[in-house]
Point group: C2
Chain length 213, copies 2
């Protein structure tokens, strides 16, 4: 299997969104040109990204929208529903709960906090529970992915509690560098890192053009 750049996975998400829009509009065929325009990249990039996963297009004919949509959803693990829990139900946790309530592929089934002000609050389909109940509720609710929105100092401990309770993937909104067993997938969604990348690119516009895919 060829090495796949991280950015390719992010772009697959964008291609998938464009395909979903096309399918809803009843469009049957598309091209790498059209996918590229919808995703803000070049047609060459689209073909290169899709080639990592096998060849889906036919020269001169392009791609069949529902087929490619289904294949990409499958590749990204969106052909099923994933069960999520949020640890840290402050403002950010609650904002994320609003957000994931709209998703078809991700189902938020539990939320935990340490603050008496937040514990017991109804958030969508569940009640915020004290973090002490995490080891019991996470396996019972078949949670697969944990979302960390706790203060940085509490991040490692909360992540370990999630992993001990059977969680295999963590979306980490804290700036902490988590140290977890290799088989646990970690995605960092650190707001400060996003801003630092932005200020780097604003100061170094030439380097941005030269970035690798």
């Amino acid at each position: 299997m060829a090495k796949i750049p991280d950015a390719t996975i992010t772009r697959l998400v964008h291609y998938l969104r464009a395909l979903e829009r096309m399918e809803k509009a009843g469009q049957l065929r598309t091209s790498s040109d059209e996918l590229a325009r919808a995703s803000g990249v070049t047609a060459f990039q689209v073909r290169k990204d899709l080639a990592y996963f096998g060849s889906y297009g036919t020269r001169g004919v392009g791609y069949t929208v529902p087929v490619l949509r289904r294949e990409l959803a499958q590749i990204l693990g969106l052909g099923r529903r994933w069960r999520l829990a949020i640890v840290g139900m402050g403002r950010l946790g609650q904002a994320l709960a609003d957000f994931y309530a709209l998703s078809e592929s991700y189902e938020l089934v539990a939320g935990f906090d340490v603050s008496p002000e937040v514990i017991g609050r109804q958030v969508g389909p569940f009640t915020v529970e004290p973090v002490e109940k995490l080891p019991q509720i996470v396996p019972e609710s078949h949670v697969e992915i944990g979302i960390l929105t706790v203060p940085e100092a509490a991040a490692q401990q909360a992540a370990e509690a999630l992993v001990a309770a059977g969680v295999r993937g963590i979306l980490n909104f804290t700036p902490a560098i988590l140290k977890l067993p290799e088989q646990v997938a970690i995605e960092n969604a650190d707001f400060m890192a996003g801003l630092s990348r932005l200020s780097f690119f604003m100061l170094n516009p030439r380097w941005r053009e030269e970035m690798m895919g």
Copy 2:
């Protein structure tokens, strides 16, 4: 100038955090091994990442903590304060405002919304203003970076308003693919894309190991 992988910039942020902790603790020297352990990568990766920006270490001696810390901060544009505005002061916008209030390098100076429930609310040092006032307030407040936390359907228009008002960088929390002039830097901090990458890696652990730096 060599091509710099996007992931390198993210790792520079992590190295910088480790160096800040060391400097606060009064530590004068460090090694690529120590930086690697603190950042969850290999020492080879640390040396490779730093090599893009010139050689800062001395073989057998390592790095001088305050020097490397200052250099990395400079590279990432953190040697100064950036002025931010948030468009979309719902729960997510307010959570981000809490977050950026703690930062030394980023100063949140304005927030905008369309909802009468939010407009007029005091958030830290400023009052949430109606989005109609954006074209006036953004230049007056010397805003350089805009943070987009509006619904997807409003994202492109809000981004264009920011750019028209002089903003050169946008941190986009919406799933919209923004179409903006080339000289505007865009960072996407899309929660759904983060989850999709996570579920991809959980389904394809072997590919994760083979990911490019």
